[in-house]
């Protein structure tokens, strides 16, 4: 007659049934020897009762992750268990507070949306137009980040509310939720920062890591980044299509037809709503509402682009190779998530408006825990990181954006070795190669490729510095992001010319 939930007595320690030599497997740590007991008894205690501590200057033989040469496999697994203890603590505490929080955010989002739309219908009065754009932008940002992104991670699935079901939620952006769930929840969160596997490294259109081989296409890196920032929702919508296959001649129209149809359906509905129906309701003021809705969408695009790019691409974030993660344990997965992410520092409202993705590290460690808890979890995570000698990346948004912009510009121009690697490689159009070889020869004659590369980097630094100054001058965080990217675009052309 009624569903039942059965929870075994929490006081009874879980008894593992496998032999003690079984390693911590990715999917069944509860069967790992002693894990259950450790979790329940003293999660942070090592065998001698003291918290696990690792000397950061130690060097182990054959470290499983080359980014942390002082950590052995055992250390990684011990760290993983500590993370699982933090997770378990918060899972046990899920309840009314989480439900109240997300419902309040949803209420605020609806109010902002309804209020913003009404204000924009009356947008012929300039202050109302501005207020409408602000409210609608905020509504879309909340809908996409704190609500959409987090709900689709299943953070609120435990509430059993069909409206907050991660598998069926749909959001107010061009990307169909189903494709997002694949490209983001699976591809990105499982293979975070593994170059060649995590397609969020450059989204298939940018060069965001030294480990991605350079090719002439990437000279446009800053231009692509600027366009992506402005049109981010469409970039996200096309993400799961793996459009880079077009460049490499691997594109299969037949296989992609259903996805394209789904994207077109969603894009059309979104565009009809924002660029046709709501403007039409305003009658003669159609263009005013249209401009307001378009502005709100662009503001949302720039903001989400900035937050997301600052999650994985600022200086200090590590990338990984397919080889070193081949036999990864859950402990290794945790450490990779930590090293591959970077937090943003800021106040409470900043965190709410970034969907708590400003706690990117905690989000990657605990993707299915309600995001508003990340602030509290970060204290425990930081403490553990100190003991294990692990870097915990964090910085304010303007500075992080500056380092991202600098990276986008720097990676657009090859170093001498990268240019040689491209010329020696099999891939690439012979005509383009000839051009590159010519430019490379001129650069060599003009004082060596090293010099040229250094020069280009210098220009890039200058441009990014200006962008940083603009952001700090109070021009607004979002405009700063666009400025940095746009500034970068300008210098790339300059850099290419200099080479």
């Amino acid at each position: 007659m009624s569903p039942t939930t059965i929870t075994p007595d929490a006081d009874v320690p879980f008894s593992p049934t496998l032999d003690p030599d079984t390693p911590l497997s990715p999917s069944a740590p509860d069967r790992e020897a002693g894990a259950g007991r450790k979790r329940r008894d003293a999660p942070e205690a090592g065998s001698d009762g003291a918290p696990h501590r690792v000397d950061p200057n130690r060097r182990v033989e054959n470290p499983p992750l080359r980014a942390v040469p002082h950590l052995s496999q055992e250390d990684l697994d011990a760290f993983g268990r500590e993370m699982e203890a933090i997770r378990a603590k918060h899972v046990a505490d899920l309840g009314e507070r989480d439900a109240t929080y997300i419902r309040n955010v949803i209420k605020a989002q609806r109010r902002l949306e309804v209020g913003g739309r009404i204000a924009l219908e009356l947008g012929f009065i300039p202050p109302l137009w501005l207020a409408g754009v602000a409210a609608l932008s905020a509504s879309k940002i909340l809908d996409n980040m704190e609500i959409g992104h987090n709900v689709m991670h299943g953070q609120y699935d435990w509430m059993q509310d069909e409206e907050l079901n991660g598998r069926t939620f749909e959001w107010d952006t061009a990307c169909p939720a189903d494709q997002w769930r694949h490209s983001h929840n699976y591809m990105h969160h499982t293979h975070t920062n593994i170059v060649g596997k995590d397609r969020d490294v450059g989204y298939g259109i940018l060069r965001m890591s030294d480990d991605q081989p350079w090719e002439p296409y990437f000279i446009g890196n800053p231009v692509y980044a600027s366009l992506l920032a402005l049109l981010f929702e469409y970039g996200v919508a096309l993400h799961d299509l793996e459009t880079e296959d077009l460049r490499y001649g691997r594109w299969d129209w037949e296989a992609r037809r259903p996805m394209l149809r789904a994207i077109w359906g969603k894009v059309r509905r979104q565009a009809a709503k924002d660029y046709l129906l709501f403007p039409a309701l305003a009658g003669p003021f159609f263009p005013i509402v249209l401009a307001g809705n378009a502005t709100a969408n662009v503001v949302r695009n720039l903001w989400t682009f900035s937050i997301i790019f600052c999650g994985h691409f600022p200086d200090g974030v590590e990338e990984f190779t397919v080889e070193e993660t081949e036999n990864e344990t859950r402990g290794g997965w945790y450490v990779r998530q930590l090293l591959g992410s970077s937090n943003l520092t800021g106040g409470r409202w900043f965190h709410v408006m970034s969907g708590n993705l400003s706690f990117q590290i905690e989000h990657h460690l605990f993707p299915d825990i309600p995001a508003w808890r990340y602030a509290a979890m970060s204290e425990d995570v930081r403490e553990a990181c100190e003991r294990y000698g692990l870097q915990y990346n964090a910085g304010p948004l303007p500075y992080q954006l500056f380092t991202v912009a600098r990276k986008i510009v720097r990676l657009s121009v090859p170093t001498a070795d990268e240019a040689d690697a491209y010329l020696d490689g099999d891939a690439g159009n012979p005509v383009v190669k000839t051009v590159v070889r010519g430019v490379r020869g001129v650069a060599k004659a003009a004082g060596g490729g090293v010099e040229a590369a250094r020069g280009a980097a210098g220009v890039a630094r200058g441009a990014a510095g200006m962008a940083k100054a603009a952001a700090e001058a109070g021009a607004g965080v979002v405009r700063g992001a666009a400025g940095a990217a746009r500034g970068g675009g300008g210098t790339a052309r300059g850099g290419a010319g200099a080479a």
Binding site: T4, P26, P29, D30, W158, D368
Partner: protein, 424 residues
């Protein structure tokens, strides 16, 4: 419950004629009708997309809805110490129900939405536009205890469409109606009784009800009033404890709260609701009393398994031709769980059953030759989520054993405990 057919989607504006009965006057109700019709259009959907209109409507008027069904609690009564009676005013999306059907209500307790089935006890006549539910508090019941303690007028609960097609009053009414219930099984049967009297049924109606004592008898006053107003209704309350000499009876099957056993002495209430001259369990004498002749009659029984089984046996023994419809009201069973118990795994969508081998459901499905969608295989991406239809599973990340019918589980980190059925 006997049948749980999936509810059909609510037709928009299912009963617009209802608006005419609103006390606020014809003009305003017509305006409201127009507003509701506008909100049900494709244009409204396009403007609200990707969310639905109700998502926004809820903000303005929680008692309005275009598709969802909700009910506002308008009255809370505490008939006994261990029950609460709620009167709900449903949104216009509620299509009405047939006497004997049940409805799922959705209640949030500590952030978690719980779903429970209850049978409305009010009249199903179209003139009654409320839903009355009586909920017996179970000592471990999450929802029943929450509602007993916290239900207040003004609160909203989610509602499903009415369910159940078997245990309902037939449209063609036979002359003699026999209603038998035990404990809280009174609710659908009372709904039948009220519907019959509201709709002017003039044949004899026998209502045989088993309660532990007069204090435990729900709806004592309502029953007395119905009997007083309708001479064709014969009330036959049987007390299996306290007032009656015969001791334990069938209603004991519902006795889950030991404290309640001592609560009742029949003395106080016998003045208003005297026990009838029948005693003890349902048997031959009870049967002869409520069904003296076996023609143009129909019988309905609802209650604990012991009562339903006794009635069905009596029917079979005597070889009665009278149609008998029945519904079990059984408390949820809570068997002890051994997380290492290996049973069988049934993949319902593929019509395949295999012996559990201790690995995750995903691994077992693949070993069985199925190709379920999956992603990370470590419990983070939710790609592999599917519906658990029966049984419980162990979370291989935490060791916790959980599972409720209809719950969505990540099969890559769920190992079966005992017999399990998943929708794969």
């Amino acid at each position: 419950m006997t049948a749980t057919a999936p509810p059909a989607p609510a037709p928009t504006g299912a009963r617009p004629d209802e608006d005419g009965h609103e006390p606020t006057g014809a003009a305003s109700s017509r305006r409201r009708g127009i507003a509701r019709r506008l909100l049900g259009t494709q244009l409204a959907d396009a403007l609200a997309g990707p969310h639905d209109v109700d998502h926004y409507l809820e903000l303005l008027r929680p008692d309005w809805a275009v598709r969802r069904v909700r009910g506002e609690i308008v009255d809370v009564r505490h008939q006994t110490d261990d029950s609460v009676t709620l009167t709900l005013r449903p949104t216009v999306t509620w299509p009405g129900f047939r006497a004997g059907q049940h409805v799922e209500i959705h209640v949030d307790v500590d952030g978690v939405r719980h779903r429970r089935c209850y049978s409305p006890s009010g009249s199903a006549d179209v003139r009654t536009r409320t839903i009355e539910l009586t909920i017996r508090r179970h000592p471990e019941g999450v929802v029943s205890r929450h509602l007993k303690a916290h239900a207040r007028p003004g609160m909203f609960v989610g509602l499903s469409m009415p369910r159940g097609e078997d245990f309902v009053l037939p449209d063609e009414r036979p002359d003699r109606i026999v209603l038998i219930s035990g404990g809280s099984g009174i609710t659908p049967v009372l709904s039948m009784l009220r519907t019959l009297t509201d709709q002017g049924h003039d044949g004899p109606i026998a209502f045989l009800h088993y309660a532990r004592s007069a204090d435990d008898l729900l709806y004592a006053d309502d029953l007395a009033a119905i009997a007083a107003a309708h001479p064709n209704v014969e009330l036959l309350p049987v007390y299996t404890r306290g007032g009656s000499a015969t001791g334990a009876g069938v209603a004991d099957a519902t006795a889950r709260d030991p404290a309640a056993d001592d609560a009742g002495t029949a003395g106080d209430r016998t003045a208003t609701t005297p026990a009838c001259d029948l005693h003890g369990r349902f048997g031959d004498d009870h049967l002869r009393r409520v069904l003296p002749e076996d023609r143009d009659a129909a019988a309905f029984v609802c209650g604990p398994a012991a009562l339903v089984d006794a009635v069905r046996e009596a029917w079979a023994d005597v070889g009665l031709q009278t149609p008998l419809r029945y519904e079990h009201f059984a408390p949820p069973e809570l068997p002890p769980v051994d997380p290492d118990d290996l049973g069988t795994v049934t993949f319902a969508g593929s019509d395949l059953t295999v012996d559990a081998d201790g690995t995750t459901l995903l691994q077992q499905a693949e070993a069985a030759g199925l190709q379920p969608v999956s992603g990370c295989r470590m419990g983070i991406c939710l790609t592999c989520k599917c519906r658990l239809e029966h049984g419980v599973v162990r979370d291989t990340l935490t060791g916790d054993v959980h599972g409720a019918p209809g719950e969505e589980i990540r099969i890559c980190v769920s190992a079966p405990v005992g017999d399990v059925t998943v929708d794969l």
